[in-house]
């Protein structure tokens, strides 16, 4: 079962080690060494937030600014948690860690996964989450160690992250007989991307998606 969790987590490994290393390198260049990289990746464990966080650290942001920025960048985690409430309901002692470690990628691996039942699935979800966390920490520590020495000849490896989401989307499309939520997701996000631009479209998209999903539910009942 641990093996199966490891196998499931493999697609995230390459992406997390590369993205983590990118973070570690940037943080190192900003003057914060390996301990900081380790601490941030262990405690915050939210990729895009950590990249933004480097700017907050070097720019000498206030605590209030930091909190507000974190809410803006990470508000999507509210939505991940909402959609996992039922799944994580009976996860017992694993629950706090499962919630803490619910990143974009872990979410995409576990949101449609029903390979086990009962206590088994909790252990399985725990290990998928834990492995991903380890990849992320390892990546950022490696990046910090390499510092500015490294020049990526591996350009394009970062596409593995995009590919992960596309594969997950395709799989859900195949197994689902109702494609309206998926279409709402595409249309709302594209619309908000056009309206709000690449920097600010995430939160409006999530609100619009939630609104539209709410509207079609009322129509159905």
């Amino acid at each position: 079962m641990i093996k199966k969790a490891f196998y499931k987590s493999l697609p995230v490994m390459a992406g997390y080690i590369i993205l983590g290393a990118g973070f570690g390198i940037l943080l190192h260049n900003a003057g914060y060494g390996i301990i900081w990289a380790f601490a941030m990746s262990t405690l915050i464990y939210a990729g895009s937030m950590q990249y933004v966080g480097i700017g907050l650290l070097t720019g000498g942001a206030s605590v209030i600014t930091t909190v507000i920025t974190t809410v803006m960048v990470n508000a999507r985690h509210l939505f991940y948690s909402i959609s996992m409430i039922d799944k994580y309901k009976d996860s017992g002692k694993y629950k706090p860690y499962l919630i803490f470690a619910l990143t974009d990628e872990t979410y995409s691996l576990l949101c449609d996964d029903e390979e086990y039942s009962g206590e088994e699935i909790n252990r399985y979800r725990f290990f998928v989450s834990f492995f991903n966390h380890c990849y992320w920490i390892s990546g950022s520590v490696i990046g910090s160690l390499l510092g500015s020495m490294i020049h990526f000849s591996t350009a394009g490896v970062e596409f593995s992250m995009t590919a992960l989401f596309i594969a997950s989307f395709t799989e859900q499309w195949i197994i689902s007989d109702n494609h309206i939520p998926a279409i709402i997701g595409i249309v709302s996000t594209l619309l908000c991307l056009l309206l709000f631009g690449t920097e600010n479209f995430l939160i409006p998209s999530m609100l619009l998606i939630t609104l539209l999903l709410t509207v079609i539910r009322k129509k159905e009942t």
């Binding site: 650290l57 508000a75 591996t154 596309i166 859900q172 999903l213």
Partner: protein
Amino acid sequence: MKAAVLILAMAITTIVLRFLPFMIFGKHTPAYVSYLGKVLPQAIIALLVIYCLRDVSVISPPYGIPEFIAGGTVVGMQAWKRNAVISILSGTIVYMVLIRII
């Protein structure tokens, strides 16, 4: 020390965001929230795909062609083999080759 305080602020805020829905709806999940839990994943995964591709320009070279072909490879492989590791690996390799030749 300031840096440590800021990191803690980021960590705690992120933890609060992740735990909040469980604390509010954990005991009795309203039907509406359960419904959202069921339909949100598909919509949010779609959002994440677009989020990853947000900086791709279709009006300037290479017109998003590498992303389009590599993305298509992932869709095709997933529909064919139903194995995420194979889909992701083949799509990523195709992408790495394409950005070097286009």
